[in-house]
């Protein structure tokens, strides 16, 4: 098989996968009194995590508890609750865990800070790497090489 064919087959498979994932969400009918509520329902149900099947949001999950939470979400939206109130209701019962975007507190601080930390670490590494390369191309000695020379010079001749 040529390389081109392999790429072709892989991309076809990828398209298939992408197409099927769109149809994965649970089908349920709720009669919303306004389109705005419906839009918020979809947003929130994708942002709330199913406590039972932990890598699905409640929109995708078939677990009974996810269905219960969808019903609660629908009822609270219709009753006029704000997004914050609904999230607070869920968090009071299932903890910050239930949100895919948990609030910043002591427990989640590291989680929120890690992208920034990794970026800084990566940038520091890159800068170091490029400096060393520049020094080498300029014919400059690295600190290690300088040390080595000094040590050799200091050594008494045998």
């Amino acid at each position: 098989m040529s390389r081109f064919e392999t790429v072709l087959i892989l991309s076809a498979l990828w398209c298939l996968l992408a197409a099927s994932s769109g149809a994965r969400a649970v089908v349920e009918t709720y009669e919303f009194s306004s389109q705005d509520l419906e839009a918020r329902y979809h947003l929130l149900s994708q942002e709330l995590r199913c406590p039972k099947c932990q890598n699905q949001n409640i929109a995708d999950s078939n677990a009974p508890i996810a269905r219960d939470l969808r019903v609660v979400l629908f009822e609270q939206l219709e009753a006029g609750a704000t997004d914050d109130e609904i999230l607070a209701f869920m968090v009071a019962r299932y903890g910050e865990f239930v949100r895919y975007r948990p609030g910043v507190d002591r427990q989640t601080l590291l989680l929120w800070a890690s992208p920034g930390l990794l970026l800084v670490l990566g940038a520091a590494g890159l800068i170091r790497h490029f400096r060393q390369r520049r020094d080498r191309t300029l014919g400059l000695l690295t600190d290690a090489e300088q040390d080595q020379i000094e040590q050799l010079l200091r050594e008494p001749r045998a």
Partner: protein, 184 residues
């Protein structure tokens, strides 16, 4: 300079330690959001009497609140142990979670009834307020009625001794144990 040589080793040890620790963490364990709070207020029927009961009915304490249902296989597994806890005088209140009440009554009649009372929660609303996401789950209410511990899954003697017994010191239990068959 020589210290530099050990950086990969140190990194390896740290990473291995982290991953090894990860092996013993249960990824399905959820933090219990209701810890330190009183049992959520409710007004539901009682399973056997049919009377409406509220959270005030959960006395005496400290006590266990056991979430169970006839559709839950693990509940059948832990049932004999609940019976033995009840026999030792530990108050257990049942939360009959999303169940068929007739089936639940049959179950208690056939397998024995460890519960002081049972909250009927067909809709799962008490469960939702409590943060239940499956059955069985067992909660500890301390003497003041606060939720101090949650266990998800089958409750057995090892779990009880490890996580529950501190709230149920042996001498504080009411002596309801029949004086037979306990030869040491």
């Amino acid at each position: 300079m020589r210290a530099k040589k050990f950086i990969p080793l140190v990194a390896f040890v740290l990473l291995t330690g982290l991953l090894f620790r990860g092996l013993s963490i249960d990824p399905t364990a959820l933090p219990a959001a209701r810890l330190g709070q009183p049992f959520p207020p409710f007004a539901q029927p009682e399973l056997l009497s049919g009377d409406e009961i509220s959270d005030a009915a959960l006395t005496p304490k400290p006590a266990l609140v056991n979430v169970w249902a006839t559709w839950c296989y693990s509940c059948r597994v832990e049932h004999p142990y609940l019976l033995s806890l009840a026999e030792q005088g530990i108050p257990i209140y049942g939360l009959n979670y999303k169940d068929d009440s007739a089936k639940a009554r049959d179950w208690l009649e056939q397998l024995g009834d460890p519960y002081r009372l049972n909250i009927v929660d067909v809709e799962g609303s008490v469960g939702l307020d409590l943060g239940v996401y499956g059955a069985p789950e067992t909660y500890v209410l301390d003497a003041d009625g606060y939720i101090v511990h949650r266990h998800v899954g089958v409750l057995d003697e090892a779990v009880f001794t490890r996580d529950f017994s501190r709230w149920f010191p042996v001498d504080a239990l009411p002596k309801r144990m029949p004086a037979i068959g306990v030869g040491l």
